[in-house]
Symmetry: C2
Subunit: 576 residues, 2 copies
Amino acid sequence: MRASQFLIATVKETPSDAVVISHQLMLRAGMIRKLSSGLYSWLPMGLRVLRKVEAIVREEMNKAGAQELLMPVVQPSNLWQESGRWQQYGPELLRITDRHNNSFCLGPTHEEVITDLIRNEIKSYKQLPLNFYQIQTKFRDEIRPRFGVMRSREFIMKDAYSFHNDQESLQQTYELMHAAYTKIFTRLGLRFRPVVADTGSIGGNASHEFHVLADSGEDDIAFSDSSDFAANVELAEALSPPEKRKNPGLALEKVATPGQHTIEDVSIGLNTSASQVIKTLVVLGEAENEETAAPLIALIVRGDHKLNELKAEKIPGVGSPLQFASEEQIKGIIGCGLGSIGPVGLSIDSIIDRSAAELSDFVCGANDDGYHFIGTNWGRDCKTGRIEDIRDVVAGDPSPDGKGILHIKRGIEVGHIFQLGAKYAEALKATVLNENGKDQTILMGCYGIGMTRIVAAAIEQNNDEKGIIWPASIAPFQIAIIPLNMQKSVDVAEQSNKLYQQLSELGYEVLLDDRNERPGVKFADMELIGIPHRIVIGDRGLKDGKMEYKGRQDSENQHIDISNIIDFIATSIAGV
Amino acid sequence: MRASQFLIATVKETPSDAVVISHQLMLRAGMIRKLSSGLYSWLPMGLRVLRKVEAIVREEMNKAGAQELLMPVVQPSNLWQESGRWQQYGPELLRITDRHNNSFCLGPTHEEVITDLIRNEIKSYKQLPLNFYQIQTKFRDEIRPRFGVMRSREFIMKDAYSFHNDQESLQQTYELMHAAYTKIFTRLGLRFRPVVADTGSIGGNASHEFHVLADSGEDDIAFSDSSDFAANVELAEALSPPEKRKNPGLALEKVATPGQHTIEDVSIGLNTSASQVIKTLVVLGEAENEETAAPLIALIVRGDHKLNELKAEKIPGVGSPLQFASEEQIKGIIGCGLGSIGPVGLSIDSIIDRSAAELSDFVCGANDDGYHFIGTNWGRDCKTGRIEDIRDVVAGDPSPDGKGILHIKRGIEVGHIFQLGAKYAEALKATVLNENGKDQTILMGCYGIGMTRIVAAAIEQNNDEKGIIWPASIAPFQIAIIPLNMQKSVDVAEQSNKLYQQLSELGYEVLLDDRNERPGVKFADMELIGIPHRIVIGDRGLKDGKMEYKGRQDSENQHIDISNIIDFIATSIAGV
């Protein structure tokens, strides 16, 4: 492609409403333009990337035996009423009314439509399993669209839906999709992790999210340095520390800690580390019946750990959703303020985190405002109580699968696979005749990939101060040829056109920057756009029979003989 | 692809709500399924065809220098208010409101969005011309969606928009697009015509529609048998007949024609052909001022011709829109009923069609109920009046470009190219700085192709009693292999799998019908689906070292040596 015939819409200034780097770079590199809140046009440069992502996803889905179809963007309300989601879904579901006053929505997902299709087309268990996918525009009326195409209202998803006679078959396809997603994100050149996800509200059997690791991600992902284990930090199990509890070395002593209310205050005041201090939080337990008040329960974690509310509220006896006791309730029953509670002589039940339970000679509140105990030991000085996993994992924790230790990085969710089970098929009465000629509800899985979001996530993970660093497989062009002074030097024009033609004929995707711009502008644009390989052709080099090569992340130019330039590029590209 | 792993959703019965053959066959062949009125899901079989259409369109648009981008389906109302279309567009424009109570529409076209993009991105005349296209979902809330994907509400269009400094540049790109469309429809294997279209209401400079010729089309297309001329019947000029008027041969004679009110009645009653009878229609002329009544004007055409109202109302003095005089007005001024009017002694002005003006010795009404004149001649018996083109062309008329004679066929509009001129750019103030540093309004062209409609149009043009006959370039598969008794015969299974593999490896798209169905079902399905080449493999043939080949339109099987089958198929496919 000649740059003079292709919209290079680079922008120097960082647009003020773009917060995250991918949004900034997509605007600056001329990949997208905002039409309206959460609505973006994909310019030719950005669309090239999106189409490459699509091609890889399509190829791997086909290889995995999924069949592509295409369902409408606009969906009739009656199917959503059957599934119950017409009522359940909040205002993210954009409801519309046609000229005949019939209700429709812009599809945020297509479970209802595909289940309707399947219940009409599939009659016998012999026709299952089946797996269908589409790459289609979706709409979610986000209350606050942000981060460009990362959280837009209109976006493109690959969504797949599989149909099964039994759990075993569902599990098989689920694993197939897990493997296909792994291939897809690997081919996309992204550092990613499949992480165990919560199946909570939908109530399915199993679920994994695929996260691209990037500092700007909205989720914290914990993963092992020695195994495949990965989970949302909130869902990862925190094991007991490997070293067992030491015997008491100090005597219990009550010390004055005036004005020290936080863990930080206390550890500084007593010159100890936060990991030697325990934090006692008080929540409401489950009331025995409607007439009795909810009892208070103490949740005890190490000072350097964070209570995991999801874990805590799942423990029998603890109220769900988790509710903290008020200062008044604590004062009334324990007799001190929030910052002074501790297990010594505590009158309420307590649940102790596994790590806190392994401490000895620790510091804790004295249930007396302005005082703490030092040299506290479980058993000797206070009841051990129930020991449970009630904290978030932290970097350095042992991996819950017993292999290696956990690292924590931020992640951007780009894929999600889910065993839906009978949820939609039951609601929409999607059945097949089984071997005995009886109706049997179909089991379903669903598998999504955020196509437009992937482009942003790739940039979040791969950029520097100059711009985007595309993974080779999704760069808009592979090679940029930058002629210097092309408008005046016949030699430069000739050599540039010749190399452009030769490389194009070999099947490479080349952008020949034949614009009438200064070299500095061209260099900056090609780096901003993130084209992996760059060749500069100028009179000075040509005199010596050379062209200049620079990879997007190289620090130095290499001077390559003209006779060798094509081989050199071929090798560089093959090597990436 | 193995049929056992691909959704073959054929249906025996013709669905009752499908009127046109393409709709019937797309449902029966399992190409599409209706989700709701005017909303269709594309099943895997249909989507394969649609994707091939897309690939051809994309390739030719790229070759013609157009750049692909992608604009949102959902469009903000403010741009439509700027262009004035928010008010002008009827209820086909589906208007929606988001959670913040902002107005949007589902885009039926994208002129506003692209013009907004261009006015923001393009600053200088040096950046023009530019031509952008997208392949995107559109929505038009048809009052009565019908004919399946031929006139659905949600559909896919390729829409392109070009931007220019001057008319010459617009004309150049317009011609480039005309040529690209010609290539596209040729590659799609369709019999089509680019026809001159009306630029009426939009007020552009030039416009062509591309019609696929098919009996079920909604438009009548007149085209020359010896040149490229083609136009909507209503727009084609009717020339004077090549033979000049003969001298009068008969004397004028008034004859009784009791009860004969129509051309047919009169021509039977007087034993003459309708082409020797003239038809006199009376319409309202333009009133001189608001206080005078509109004068009556007689429009005279041959009895076998049809008045063209569009042409008539453009003639100075004739009222627009055309309005026929009432029976009372005619009685009052001419003194007879509708079926007895004629030019002899007529008191009102008349406009005579070119062909009617060349008649001699013709029959006409006598302005006296129950009587006609025979042997009437212009000049001798009545005033000649003004001679104009006021009729529809008919098959056999000379082509208006002077080359050959006209044929008439029905057409389905699948493409439309249009010189919009300054319409949108003016409304949205899209300007560039010209050579003199002054703002200059951009000129625009737009170029649409109905992607989903093409699939239906291809079927309307290519089908027989067995089903669809796909043009080679868009068939969902090229070759169907039908094994007989594959489940029991090891030999058949082996040979079928082997051939399937070999052909697939050579890059052919093969559907191996490995379903456990009777041969008759498989034959019928593959013919219904319209796969161009069929190979049947059975024990009987294999014993003789043969396989059976049949092209979709062949009447006989051919028995081909196994050793030769691949060459044979390659030759057959290359020959199509």
